[in-house]
């Protein structure tokens, strides 16, 4: 009996905490997404009319959201930005992971630490740093002008380019680390075996290393794509004022329009996108691992 | 290594048991119908076990046979689903591991890596809230027992495998338990060390008179150390006896094959005469074996003969015996193993003691094998096996 009580004392605090502050909020968001905005505190209409015991919620917000070009653009834009940024991260990150795994073991840890160090410094400040670099009168443009390479500054800040740059910059380590973890774990003996069997280096890479690192790639893509989907800071600081992403829509609805039911709806749709991504990536990894 | 010289002579011949054994009194460990399952797997299946005071008892079996679970049940680290466990006459149901009069040497040794050797050994005594001075004294005494006082200030990571094993023993013994449980205490040591550690274990047990229960998969270890051995298979105890008896009179094929090398010949009983029987195994002549209770002519049986009990003469012999041809041989230093083909297909291993014993034999030689009937054990064979 005391054993059971002891176990419950350990189990309950984290369980209750996560149910209250993670699961319950999502339920509240869903409920409010069915409600309508009103002026007042709280700024949404009640869902149930207790006097007549009637449910007042409807899916009007959802139909509005999916029928409105502005929001649809925001969603599609987010998916596009996140997907392209993920792909660029992969293109830069995979060779980096490969390179780190190929150096002497004693040098790997410092290289990994160097990779993670920026992650420990403020995300906001790292994004902000790019403004100095990319501005029309920023460091890169000044250098180009002074060297006489350009007559007029290149427009880099507040474009799609700067948003991609910012996201890739922020999330690159999240692509490298899982890929490195997987590559490092396989035996380099496999590569030697491939070489021994006459495979040229590039060929053995294509037929051995790349397929084996798929789980790492999947994890890396997940870790870049999902947060990029809901990214707010980068488009806000580096993107143009008309640049649409879900995170920004959500922010505007919450703080400027104070249309919380609509913000809640945007959140639920984003949540569905996130869950769908996670589940499908999990599927891909599972499918690959089963027949082996 | 520091095994105190001269202590090894205290060891008794295993079969005589410890002089402290109070024969006929209540056992120190008594298990009655104990079962334990994990999910669908029955790890321990209705086991009855009785260990007397001062015994060196071994649980012998292949990995996964339930022997470690049985040990953990005694220690209180697992709970039985059914049955009773009594330690020194006391019912153990509901008594947690930390209140039982037993201590364990774990297979991994489970030394606390953040504590020095002295702190490790003192850990159990500190739980009893003994005075500091007494703890310190007992720690030193126990370390001295294994001549490792010099390691007191080291951390486990700074010890060799053999040193770790001795620290684990110290840590368990310093509590002066009524029973010491040992889970494969020698498995992590290399071969050379294992032999010495075996003698040391035996010497300590004899000196302290504590009941030892050891789990092992190594039949040689079980045989050489134990007063009694229980052979386990699939959660059950198959045979429980003195090592000699298990070796000479295994109760079934499994025990015969697990404990030592064995030739097994299947056949049917053709005749029963007094203490011996004849078995027709298609070898041309009837195979002689000792009579076992309940065996009658026509019964399907297996006959087990230890390789070293077989007598080999070259050429055909008219004084009975099975003839065959040498197929191969292996030199073992002090003995030879000769592989003989009989009846065209069956292989029988013969162990010849002595350096020169098998030197003259080469493949193709005609030989005759024979053995005394009492050296061959027969047990009933289920039809279809």
């Amino acid at each position: 009996m005391t054993r059971v009580l002891g176990c419950l004392a350990v189990l309950m605090p984290p369980y209750v905490w996560m149910v209250t502050f993670f699961a319950l909020p999502i339920i509240v968001v869903f409920a409010i997404s069915l409600s309508d905005a009103v002026v007042g505190i709280p700024p949404y209409a009640p869902l149930v009319d207790w006097s007549s015991a009637r449910f007042l919620g409807d899916v009007e917000n959802y139909t509005f959201l999916l029928g409105d070009a502005y929001y649809l653009d925001g969603f599609l834009g987010s998916i596009r930005i996140a997907a392209v940024a993920t792909f660029i991260c992969f293109l830069i990150g995979y060779p980096m992971a490969l390179a780190i795994s190929r150096v002497r073991p004693t040098r790997r840890l410092p290289l990994l630490l160097l990779l993670m160090l920026p992650f420990w410094t403020s995300f906001l400040i790292r994004t902000y740093a790019w403004i100095t670099l990319l501005n029309s009168n920023g460091i890169i443009n000044n250098a180009l002008l002074n060297l006489g390479l350009r007559e007029t500054p290149i427009l880099m800040l507040y474009t799609d380019f700067s948003v991609y740059l910012g996201i890739v910059y922020a999330y690159l380590p999240f692509m490298v680390l899982p890929i490195y973890a997987v590559i490092e774990r396989h035996d380099l003996g496999l590569l030697e075996a491939a070489a021994d069997l006459g495979a040229k280096p590039f060929r053995s890479f294509l037929s051995v290393t790349l397929p084996l690192s798929i789980p790492g790639i999947a994890a890396g893509c997940l870790l870049v794509f999902v947060p990029a989907l809901g990214e707010f800071v980068v488009p806000e600081l580096l993107g143009g004022s008309d640049f649409l992403m879900i995170g920004r829509l959500l922010w505007t609805e919450t703080f400027q329009n104070r249309d919380w039911p609509l913000a809640a709806t945007v959140t639920i749709v984003l949540l569905v996108l996130v869950v769908a991504t996670v589940v499908s990536v999990q599927r891909i990894v599972d499918m690959r691992e089963r027949p082996l | 290594m520091g095994t105190p010289q001269g202590k090894t002579q205290v060891i008794d011949a295993p079969s005589r048991g410890n002089p402290n054994t109070a024969a006929g009194t209540e056992p120190i460990i008594s298990l009655q119908g104990v079962s334990c399952r994990f999910g669908d797997v029955v790890a321990v299946d209705a086991v009855d076990l009785r260990v007397d005071r001062g015994e060196f008892f071994s649980l012998l079996g292949a990995s996964g046979c339930g022997k470690t679970t049985l040990l953990r049940l005694i220690a209180g680290l697992e709970q039985p689903d059914t049955g009773r466990i009594l330690l020194d006459g006391e019912e153990m149901a509901g008594i947690p591991a930390y209140r039982r009069p037993v201590n364990t040497v774990f297979q991994s040794y489970a030394l606390f890596p953040h504590m020095t050797v002295a702190r490790n050994v003192a850990f159990g005594l500190r739980q009893e809230n003994l005075p500091r001075a007494e703890i310190a004294q007992r720690v030193v005494e126990t370390l001295a027992l294994f001549s490792i006082e010099g390691l007191a200030k080291r951390k486990p990571a700074e010890l060799s495998g053999g040193q770790r094993q001795r620290v684990a023993l110290c840590r368990a013994l310093v509590k002066r338990p009524k029973i010491l449980l040992l889970d494969e205490p020698l498995a992590a040591l290399d071969r050379r060390l294992r032999e010495r550690a075996r003698f040391e274990l035996s010497a300590v047990q004899a000196r302290l008179g504590i009941t030892f229960v050891m789990v092992t998969h190594d039949q040689e270890e079980a045989m050489s150390l134990s007063t009694r051995v229980a052979v386990m298979d699939a959660g059950r105890i198959v045979q429980q006896d003195e090592p000699r008896a298990i070796y000479d009179r295994p109760v079934n094929r499994f025990v015969a094959g697990f404990v030592g090398d064995a030739n097994l010949i299947d056949g049917t009983v053709s005749q029963v005469s007094g203490g011996a029987i004849g078995v027709d195994a298609g070898l041309g002549v009837d195979v002689a074996a000792a009579h076992a209770a309940g065996i009658a002519p026509g019964d399907p049986v297996s006959v087990m003969i230890r390789p070293e009990r077989i007598r080999l003469v070259t050429g055909a012999s008219d004084s009975g015996g099975v003839t065959g041809r040498v197929r191969g041989k292996a030199f073992l230093g002090n003995a030879w193993v000769i592989q003989v083909v009989v009846a065209g297909e069956r292989l029988i291993d013969v162990r010849l003691i002595g350096e020169e014993s098998g030197a003259g034999l080469s493949p193709g030689h005609l030989v005759t094998l024979s053995w005394p009937a009492e050296a061959a054990v027969c047990f009933a064979r289920e039809i279809g096996v």
């Binding site: 993670f22 190929r102 410094t121 403020s122 740093a129 690159l172 809640a264 | 680290l77």
Partner: protein, 273 residues
């Protein structure tokens, strides 16, 4: 990957690292710029650091952020430890999958979702039970604990499952009741993971803009919120100075942690028997 490909990959990696560090280096360099124009070098000066020290708003926000970060990191480690014990030591129980999912989901949840959902929760709770009274440092702390628990659980769980059960069993076998075995054996061995988890939650909390923006109240602007509102208006040398201070502090902490880990993992060679 020999010969021909090696320099290519090496060059690629070098480029990647340069990409990661260049903006930070520029930031640090220009924090010592005399000129107010961030992009024009006007000589060496530390005057922006002086101005930073006189900026009450930033200092107050920084102090609040540090306090929130310390409290929420502590909370996240406590809950994460309990959660890790449940996941590693309790075996299978009904609801384990849900428990695991709840704990780890914040790892793959965009900040805006966590922020908005907690905001709506707090407002709803207030309208229902009157707690929490408005949004404040408390609500920010709760939000940061919720995110931090996911990270601490992962880190502590990894360490705990590495430890195995043997040590607990040994402690129990030697007469230590479960709580005493935990305090004397498990806890000291978990210490590195606890410290790492604490530091990570601390920095995550210190760094968080999005979640904090949703759940903070009028009087509880954290450092990132203040920095953000200033950065939105354009580049400011003071922010460069602040950024430099933060980068240096973080680099020092990482260096110290790295060194201490190296120290503790150093082992003498296996002794001969």
């Amino acid at each position: 990957m020999r010969s021909r490909w090696r320099p290519l990959i090496g060059g690629y990696a070098l480029f990647g690292y340069a990409f990661l560090y260049m903006p930070i280096v520029i930031l640090v360099v220009y924090s010592f710029n005399e000129s107010r124009l961030v992009t024009v070098w006007g000589g060496f000066s530390t005057k922006w650091y002086g101005e930073l020290l006189g900026n009450e708003r930033i200092l107050q926000a920084a102090w609040l952020s540090v306090r929130i970060a310390a409290v929420s990191a502590t909370g996240a480690v406590l809950l994460g430890t309990a959660a890790a014990i449940v996941l590693v030591r309790f075996g299978r129980f009904r609801g384990r999958g849900v428990f695991n999912g709840l704990l780890l989901a914040p790892l793959v949840m965009p900040d805006v979702i966590i922020g908005l959902s907690l905001l709506l929760l707090f407002v709803w709770l207030q309208s229902q039970i009157g707690w929490p009274a408005g949004r404040s440092g408390l609500t920010v702390g709760i939000a940061h604990i919720t995110v931090g628990v996911a990270y601490t659980t992962v880190m502590i769980r990894a360490r705990l499952s590495q430890l195995g059960r043997d040590l607990d069993d040994a402690a129990a076998d030697l007469g230590a009741p479960p709580w005493r075995g935990f305090v004397e054996v498990t806890l000291p061995l978990l210490a590195p993971a606890l410290a790492a988890g604490w530091l990570l939650s601390f920095t995550l909390s210190l760094d968080d803009l999005v979640v904090a923006s949703f759940v903070s109240g009028p009087g509880s602007s954290t450092l990132p919120i203040v920095v953000f509102s200033s950065v939105r208006l354009g580049v400011s040398p003071q922010i460069n100075a602040l950024a430099t201070v933060m980068v240096v502090v973080v680099a020092l902490i990482v260096l110290l942690v790295g060194l201490s880990m190296r120290q503790s993992s150093r082992r003498p060679p296996e002794g001969a028997d």
